[in-house]
């Protein structure tokens, strides 16, 4: 008897859950994904190195220029072209998304680290809209332009045995940025980092870094250093 009641209860719960689910806007789950505008990208030449930041397709979000967000888009960021390419499963096509239609994008990389890219106008050499990776977001942002260049090298045989004399090499550029003051380029080393502050601040900054045991050796430690210093209220001189 009790088992029967249990079954009836379960059935009632399942039915009520079902009716709740049907009440949702299920007919077109991702209306935004329809809006992706783009063009067929030309394949990149095969050289040593990679033109992409991430060689595999990773699911991520894109933010359209109107602020709406489309989720679960399989994407690759072409550092060489500074363009975002996504894979459309329905039509099995790689599509280079129009930069003008996006505000930015984000995805979790292989190490599950969230990578956030923002489209910003760059007013230095080679003016135009670029995707910058946001390394630290605050009053002053720390941005990275993940550029990959094609450089001439000594002749070599590629994986297919073809003689090549070019390769893709990274040329990442880092900037401090505020909307009012613009971009301030910075290199990833301790002295270049300290040079971005007024002389009187440099000593306490050194002390602070020592206290927090931060040694600027790579990108991650550089970001840590900046986040620690910014928290203490030190300002970058533009």
């Amino acid at each position: 008897m009790s088992n029967r009641i249990k079954h009836i209860l379960l059935l009632v719960l399942a039915l009520s859950f079902g009716s709740l689910v049907t009440a949702q806007e299920t007919q077109n789950v991702n209306w935004e994904a329809q809006k992706i505008k783009g063009v067929r990208p030309l394949p990149d030449a095969v050289y040593n190195g990679s033109p992409f930041l991430n060689d595999s397709w990773l699911p991520g979000k894109i933010e359209f220029a109107d602020g709406e967000i489309a989720d679960s888009i399989y994407m690759k960021y072409s550092s060489f072209k500074d363009e975002l390419i996504y894979f459309n499963k329905t039509i099995s096509a790689q599509i280079m998304i129009d930069k003008a239609s996006l505000n930015g994008f984000s995805f979790a990389d292989k190490n599950n680290k969230m990578r956030v890219f923002r489209k910003q106008h760059f007013d230095g050499f080679m003016k135009g809209d670029r995707y910058f990776e946001v390394l630290a977001d605050g009053e002053t942002d720390l941005l990275a332009y993940r550029k990959v260049n094609m450089n001439g090298v000594a002749p070599y045989h590629d994986v297919n045995g073809i003689l090549k004399n070019m390769e893709y090499s990274t040329d990442y550029q880092f900037y401090f940025y505020t909307p009012e003051k613009g971009y301030n380029s910075v290199r990833l080393n301790r002295s270049a980092f300290l040079a971005k502050f007024v002389k009187t601040d440099q000593k306490p900054i050194k002390k602070l870094l020592r206290k927090n045991k931060i040694f600027i050796l790579d990108e991650d430690s550089f970001i840590d250093a900046w986040k620690t210093i910014e928290k203490e209220g030190f300002k970058v001189v533009f």
Partner: protein, 540 residues
Amino acid sequence: MKKIIIILLFLILYSVAANAQKTPGFGLFTDRDIYVSGETLLAKIYIPEANSSRIIYLDLVNRYGTRISGVPLEIRNSQADGFLILPDSLSTGNYLLRTYQKHNAGKQMVMREIWISNRFDEPGKTIEMNRVENLNKIQEKESNQISIEGIEQQYQINQPFGSNIKINPTFLNEIDGELIVSVAQTDPSFAADAFLLQSDSGNDGMPEKRGIILSGIVTDKKTNEAATNITVYLTIPDTVPGFQYYNTKKDGRFYFLLDKYYGSVEAVIQCFGNTPDQRLKISLDDLFAAAGELPEFRQEPIQETFRNNTVRNIDAVTFQKVFAQKQIILNAPVLTNQKTYPYYGKATETVDPQLFIDLPDFTEISRELLPGVKFRNYNNEPTLQVLNSQLRYFFEEAPLLLIDGIPIRDLNVIKDMGTSDIDRVDICRSERFYGDLRFPGVVAIYTTKSDYPMLSESDQLIRLTLETIQETVSLAETNIPEPNIPDLRQVVYWNPKVKPAENISVKCSISSVQGLYKIIVRGKLKDGTLFFSEKQFEVK
């Protein structure tokens, strides 16, 4: 067993509690109860806090359930306000103003009865009115926490009017959302009520969480069955055309989201068969709810004072029309993010044929003015191809061809278009994508007339005027250019978005229409109770 009984009890209590919360919080108010055909009705709607839709509908039906007009309104902070233009052709009688969210219109709907007199009807022709009865009346509580000060018993016509509304500070904390303050003509012989219609029957539809959902079904004309895997296109022609598509599933249904459009928009809905001989039919769902169950009416004789007031109102409205006095002003929505481009992409090249020598047809235009576009009309079989500039060859397939943003496949439509017909041509010389759609090049023709007359309506192409989210509106200020022209407003103040404060100042000027007027403050408490406070005065 005990556990099961406890669970059952919990479920029963939960459902009772959920039902108990449904009733309070609904409110539908209008600027007046009595109207004349051709006038504008102003309305404010209060919606319970837990609503899942962004859109609420306001429509007018006669007592037989025939819909006369309707508008979708945007819900902001569980409130909405808007207007309805009462057509000139309405016959004299009682009408029902309805408000509902489409996904559960069958289950919950608020109605308010109003009276409309036809301007051209003979006075005294109608001797009886029909009043709603046996319905769940929405209760309003008169509040003594609000005092309306500075009101005189009598005012002269065209005299300035001022009042101060004082709200008790403790009561202020209980108010939910904004208040409505109105100063309008009133007739004590006809006091309209609002009713809540609730039913457990009917299915829940798709809540319009983000905007209006336009839906319909595509059927195969041969088999009369739902057509699967058909792409349905919605185009809203404009300088930057709006475009959406939907791929039908087994049920043949399609859905379009209209979340960024305001006011009336022209739209084209079309589909193409998967094979050249497949004939389809698009059937659109009604944008508004069906008539549903109608209330019962009882007949009442029309009182003499009501008849006299109606005659006076008809005269006022007639003169208002003669002097073209506006009742309302539309406030266009603030548009952000103007940097947009068409769905087919930024044009590789835009050509304005008007800047060149007159050319008689599209073959000549493509040959002389459109680089990378090959339009040929050999043996009256036109073909169109676009160059893929990246790979430097012509696409083998036909490109996306648009006229004023509307996709067309029949090239005969454009073959005779000459310079005088074309305003500009956008060309995309690359393989473009929009969502799941692939365009092997794009040729977008924008006509000088922008009325795409060459596209004939069929079962596969529907042209319609869509009522999208209504723009916000404010009451027109008095603007009488000459002193001898009377000011014929019957509503002299209407503000449905008054922020609650301890002191609210109301300033306006009385019109030239004599009679009884009321200043009313209305609102909703956090527990859903509707309240009001009012004062009456006379204009002589």
